[in-house]
Assembly symmetry: C2
Homo-oligomer: 436 residues x 2
């Protein structure tokens, strides 16, 4: 049974705060293991990669077979059925079209003091994308990570994907190809992150690492952060659906389950202004759970972390939503645009009942890598900007330095930074004819 | 003596790599202490803040005197001499004008499939700015952190600044006032970070924490990351100057010293295409060091980490610069704009000999919080975007779902995510008249 809360009842605030504070993830402490793996890869390079892959993935490689060859990738891509290829191609095109619009502008201007100012964006030189193996090896995630990098103009795009017992997902390789990935390595775990960050004889290092992974991968990303850039460390997935009574309970139930089936720690919450509708959705969820393929995952998620909250009205729903700051927010109400305008904190908003969240996972266009665990209060989903960096530019004319330099000198001296002041003063003296 | 390297000589590559890899920071391990302080503040709130401030800052406060009152701030601001006030006001105006241009655009469009897509930027609700006490209590840093937040539209701006033995820097309070800061607390160290992240009875929690600090502050920011957003953890400052022979060696010496005087671990590097000029600059540095107020800091920095590199030509200078990926890059050459165009990795570029880096520290307009330790390869200086987050938006018309939904269902099934597919299929069935 999920929790049923009623915002109109006394005691709601305490229960809601408990829901907000509930800890769903109990990450195992693998930091020592990961530190040892990273040190091993740094020291022994390819040799360590080969040994660790034999150990963890039961796969015997050599330095020469760490990477897939182009011919191998071609052969795997040819195995993908036409319908799946077409779907992946459509997804890639739509994701690219959305992300193309995120390319930032460079700026340059000269102000009234005569200072020419601005900034310039440039892509990182090389990016590495981690793709999990096994059950969580999602081709959609390859597109969502690699296409923003490709749009950013990243010169070298690398994928690492473990292939336990040699099992390869052809769709992952096709997605990599569609997204312009240049190199694909059959390695995973902390050893893959170490290779991407520090490089080996075979795997040249990258500047930025993104992509989801298990506890070992997450710990390794934390450790190499600073040496390279990383994306966020994502927590379990979440959906909040705000729905009024004029919805098919079965649609909303499917939407809630589409998060619950990801992970036993995932969280699905329904907020409605109609208590009976909430109960109808909960019944529909139970009915679907009887036959759902992943009921062993979705069931515990829904029963342990799911919640149905009845509110006074949609204004209250918006307030609670901002406190939850959900990763995914679905708005299935009559005037969904108006409700969307009231929301401040959410990773992605799916507006109207014809926009199930799953559209956003695959094919809508926006990125599906989104802030979890209430971090949409201060962070954003993956974008082209994550694969770019900005260099600020300043050029003073002698007149500009004459105009604003004295204030800089004053401030430098007030901070007891004499050389700062001196570097300005020497130039001002020249300008005033006092120098030399 | 700084290092002298010559890129035209054999053995240069090894020496250059050693320079790149030199570790300048030896951060003490204060993590256990910091963990205990954070736990204490979470548990005992204001009481812990008062006790820890008495212990570390030798200052007896009560919950009522944790914050400066408006009258106190007024009184301190009135102590600031007119010249310093005018300089700070000019700096604030110029920094604001620069950052105003960074405000990102919202986007919304409807594509040919009938999908309405876009994104919306919004400010974080509350931001906390840490300001160090003592020697490193820089009013310029208050402006550089608070103004981007103010421009972003952050609703609540909080400053924490320790006042050891009750010593207050009036310029810091004036800078806070000029930058629209709403609350200023007399607390510092890990306890201030804990209060900002978790809140106490007096200090409400914020969503994002920025600002420089010592090892305790840095460790505390790392620990609260996830609960709140943080900015980068900055390392020691760096400058790279590329200068040809047509420069005054004394100007370049002052520029190099303006980083060296920050910190014994700071690094100043000169690259020149004229060996004799490099030696002249080194002599000028030594001459200035004889009288510089901060010679006890700048001297060790220059002698331990400083370097003068002679190159074949400016093209090689640009190549080496990108490998160094400096925080600050000053280009004092005849065609500085052309050289700037060849640079890919740098936090900030100061173009031409009339643009000493110190202008950027105070008054140029661009932010002075910049990526250190080669991280300009993958990250950017502080900006308005650091105080905003992006929510992606998607709205499908029934026709749009009919057009692209089947591909989403195909991909969901290929990833064995049945409920994802179902959430789309139920709607497609209704559209096709099969449902209900």
């Amino acid at each position: 049974m999920p929790q049923f809360l009623d915002a109109r009842e006394p005691g709601f605030e305490a229960r809601f705060q408990a829901l907000l504070g509930s800890k769903r993830e109990d990450a195992p402490d693998v930091d020592d293991t990961v530190a040892a793996i990273i040190a091993d890869v740094r020291q022994r390079g390819d040799e360590a990669l080969v040994e660790l892959t034999a150990k963890f993935d039961r796969l015997q490689l050599t330095p020469d077979t760490l990477a897939f060859t182009d011919d191998e990738i071609d052969a795997y891509c040819a195995q993908v059925p036409a319908a799946e290829r077409a779907a992946l191609e459509l997804a890639a095109a739509r994701i690219r079209a959305y992300h193309d619009r995120q390319l930032p502008r460079d700026e340059s201007w000269t102000d009234e003091a005569g200072a020419t100012l601005g900034w310039r964006w440039s892509p990182v030189s090389a990016a590495g994308l981690y793709v999990p193996g096994g059950l969580a090896s999602y081709p959609s995630s390859v597109l969502m990570n690699a296409i923003p990098a490709q749009v950013a103009g990243v010169g070298r795009l690398v994928v690492t994907v473990p292939t336990p017992d040699g099992a390869v997902n052809p769709l992952v390789l096709l997605a990599a190809r569609l997204a312009g990935v240049h190199e694909v390595y059959r390695i995973g775990g902390a050893q893959a992150i170490a290779a991407l960050a520090y490089g080996t004889a075979t795997v040249r290092p990258v500047d930025k690492i993104t992509g989801p992974g298990n506890a070992f991968v997450a710990a390794a990303k934390r450790r190499v952060f600073g040496k390279v850039g990383i994306d966020m460390i994502a927590g379990p997935s979440e959906i909040l659906v705000i729905a009024d009574r004029d919805n098919d309970p079965d649609w909303i139930a499917a939407d809630l389950l589409s998060q619950a089936e990801h992970d036993e720690s995932a969280q699905s919450i329904l907020i409605t202004d109609d208590e009976a509708f909430g109960q109808a959705v909960a019944r529909a969820v139970e009915a679907r759970l009887e036959t759902l393929e992943r009921r062993a995952i979705a069931g515990p998620s829904w029963r342990d972390y799911g919640a149905v909250i009845t509110v006074r009205d949609l204004a209250q729903a918006a307030e609670l939503s901002d406190r939850i700051a959900p990763e995914h927010l679905e708005l299935c109400v009559a005037d969904a645009d108006a409700l969307a305008a009231r929301i401040t904190h959410a990773g992605a908003i799916f507006i109207g009942a014809w926009t199930p969240e799953a559209i956003g996972d695959y094919i809508g266009g926006p990125n599906h890598v989104l802030p979890t665990a209430r971090s949409s209060r201060f962070s954003s989903g993956l974008s082209v900007l994550d694969f770019m960096k900005r260099t600020t530019l300043a050029r003073m004319s002698p007149e500009a330095l004459g105009a604003i330099g004295p204030a800089a000198e004053t401030l430098a001296r007030s901070e007891s930074l004499e050389a700062h002041g001196l570097s300005v003063r020497l130039r001002l003296d020249r300008l005033n004819g006092a120098g030399q």
